[in-house]
């Protein structure tokens, strides 16, 4: 009886050892795939409490002046050029009355009226697109940027109905068919068919210490900074100039300001 119990314990002990050592080997490989711990900010990352953009439209002479900004944005994000109403737009131009439709001033000065204005996602403080998204594929980051998870998006387009600024595009067509074989920026993912996308305020560039592509290409005419920091360039520009935002009455609190 005693002997058999001892042999049982022996076998059991050996089995446990064998099993645990086997298990110890397995997590070694699995552990290489899923890194434990949490993700932190990179050392060079730029951060703010609330990112915002100020566009000094007075310093742009015409639509041609905005071209390098649009090109920079679309290149960095592999935005396809689709020539119909099912197109993709991240950063684009429109007239004053389409950009600021609430301002129905017939006698607005000709210069302001005839100018082109850049449009992009407003990264609202109170974004309706985030409110309506049924899968949290669109979400607000702690620094105020409204971001997108292209792999979670189910393509229901509720966010497009929800966005009062028409800032969102849906990939009706396969966007990769409208990009060259070697994409302009291999470092940024191309999107798949059937998901929504939009401007990201270049969150991926801020993470490595770079300013947004359009800001960089604007040669100082687009300011980008922390809205909650009194000393930031954007706050100083807003303090000393007259600025407007798109459709402010809707309460979304856009993060893009226009100096007119």
């Amino acid at each position: 009886m005693n002997k058999s119990r001892r042999s049982f314990l022996k076998v059991a002990g050996l089995s446990v050892f064998a099993l645990s050592s086997g298990m110890a080997a397995a997590p070694g490989t699995a552990g290489a795939q899923i890194a434990p711990g949490s993700y932190g900010r990179g050392e060079s990352a730029l951060h703010a409490k609330r990112w915002a953009m100020v566009i000094d439209t007075r310093r742009f002479a015409g639509p041609e002046d905005y071209k390098p900004l649009i090109e920079a944005c679309h290149k960095v994000h592999n935005v396809p050029d689709i020539p119909d109403a099912q197109n993709i737009k991240w950063f684009w131009l429109d007239s004053y009355e389409h950009t600021f439709p609430d301002d129905m001033n017939t006698y607005l000065d000709a210069k302001t009226r005839s100018a082109s204005y850049p449009l992009l996602c407003n990264h609202c403080t109170n974004p309706p697109c985030v409110r309506v998204c049924p899968t949290q594929a669109t979400y607000k980051m702690e620094d105020g940027i409204v971001a997108m998870d292209y792999h979670r998006c189910i393509g229901c387009r509720f966010c497009m109905a929800g966005c009062p600024y028409g800032a969102r595009s849906f990939n009706f067509k396969d966007p990769r068919k409208f990009l060259p074989a070697t994409v302009p920026n291999p470092g940024f993912p191309t999107r798949m068919i059937g998901v929504v996308e939009k401007c990201t305020f270049c969150a991926e560039r801020l993470a490595v210490g770079q300013m947004p592509a359009c800001v960089e290409a604007s040669k100082g005419r687009l300011l980008f900074g922390d809205l909650e920091d009194e000393k930031s360039g954007v706050r100083q520009a807003l303090a000393s100039n007259f600025s407007i935002r798109r459709k402010p009455s809707l309460g979304t609190q856009p993060g893009v300001y226009y100096l007119i």
């Binding site: 109403a85 387009r157 009706f172």
Partner: protein, 389 residues
């Protein structure tokens, strides 16, 4: 009770085969859509929802309308509806199946649709919409099946189903209210941003749903001899008239606010729907005017009791009523919501042929579900001699 499907005339099976062929044909077009994406539709960046979502909205209403039979029968013990009630419940089942499919065909990445449940998002109305529709489908399948079985066995339905029936009455109101909230809570879409949206949805559902039910029951009467009962038809058509009057009244309220306030955002979508833009009628404008004419003509027939009870005039009026409400909710709602667009300009939308075929496929699946369920119900009614007076 499934055996009732095995003893049917040849024409019934021919009808089923026809539906299956139609579904297969339309499924081929849907496969194209899976490959080429929603680019095969007439939707665009500015008009990002179209025929699919509008049909979804319309059929949520049809599903909810079963309550117009269930409520009088169970809250007011109105016995005359008892014979017809199962057809309303089974129509609701078919309608919810169609709703679910209209959502699926509208998704850009349909294989990810369970993300709605994997990442439940209480601030999104679409999350609630999915929940209430699944709940309503389950309720109607259980209630319909259990009460039909009880009828077949000649016993009262079990007591545990009663609370479910009362729940389904409240639930019916909730599904269409939540569907209205999909639209009515969005800032910046002027045509939808109206507190009366849910009330309008319910009133339009409570006239159009029973109207579709009556038309289908008349068809079944002609094909099989099943008689819903004269009194039941009379009462239901009275309900339809009241709901339609309220529906038209609610729309007129919208017109008052839009045009008396003269706030451009409120009036422009309605002006576009009825008059187009830049002096050119949009194609939808002709449909909208047709809806207005049919709505008032149907009321002109339905309001006087003499013409309402006339067996030839009643179906004509109901067809016009269904067409009018379908145009209002199935075309006008979405097109008016997206036009003018976010830049206060006009991006035209018209469903493409392939988009219509995919929608037709969903209609055919709805017809198939309805044909199967109603056949079972009719078989049971015949067996227990509750087929006609």
């Amino acid at each position: 009770m499934l055996e009732k499907l095995l003893s049917a005339p040849k024409t019934y099976y021919l009808w089923l085969i026809f539906l299956l062929c139609l579904i297969a044909g339309c499924a081929c077009v849907y496969l194209q859509q899976l490959g080429e994406g929603l680019s095969i539709t007439g939707m665009s960046r500015d008009v990002s929802w179209g025929l699919y979502i509008s049909q979804f909205t319309y059929f949520v209403g049809v599903a909810a309308s079963a309550v117009m039979l269930v409520l009088p029968a169970y809250f007011h013990h109105y016995k005359k509806f008892k014979r017809m009630i199962i057809f309303g419940e089974f129509m609701a089942v078919a309608a919810v199946v169609m709703c679910a499919l209209f959502i699926v065909v509208d998704l850009g990445q349909p294989q990810r649709m369970l993300n709605v449940m994997l990442h439940p998002t209480p601030n999104s109305v679409m999350f609630y919409d999915m929940m209430v529709l699944i709940g309503y489908l389950t309720l109607n399948i259980i209630i319909g099946w259990v009460t039909l079985e009880a009828e077949r066995l000649g016993v009262e339905p079990p007591n545990w189903v009663k609370p479910l029936i009362y729940l389904s009455i409240l639930w019916a109101f909730s599904i269409h209210t939540v569907t209205a909230f999909l639209y009515a809570g969005i800032p910046g879409r002027h045509y939808w941003l109206t507190a009366i949206m849910a009330a309008r949805f319910l009133s339009s559902a409570f006239c159009s749903g029973p109207a579709i039910l009556l038309l289908l029951v008349f068809l079944v009467r002609r094909l099989t001899g099943f008689d819903p009962g004269k009194e039941a038809v009379k009462t239901l058509s009275t309900i339809i008239v009241y709901a339609m009057c309220i529906n038209v009244f609610f729309y007129l309220l919208e017109l008052f606010t839009a045009f008396y306030s003269q706030i451009p955002g409120h009036s422009e979508p309605i002006a576009f729907l009825f008059a187009g833009h830049d002096g050119h009628m949009a194609w939808v404008s002709y449909w909208m005017w047709a809806a207005v004419i049919m709505a008032f003509l149907s009321l002109a027939i339905l309001i006087p009791p003499s013409s309402r009870d006339n067996p030839t005039l009643l179906p004509v009026a109901l067809v016009m009523l269904v067409a009018a409400t379908w145009i209002d909710k199935g075309l006008g709602l979405l097109i008016g919501g997206f036009t003018p667009n976010m830049y206060e300009t006009v991006t035209p939308y018209m469903p493409t042929g392939r988009e219509i075929i995919v929608a037709l496929g969903v209609y055919a699946i709805g017809a198939l579900v309805l044909s199967l369920l109603w056949k079972i119900a009719l078989g049971v009614k015949r067996e227990v001699n509750n087929f006609s007076d």
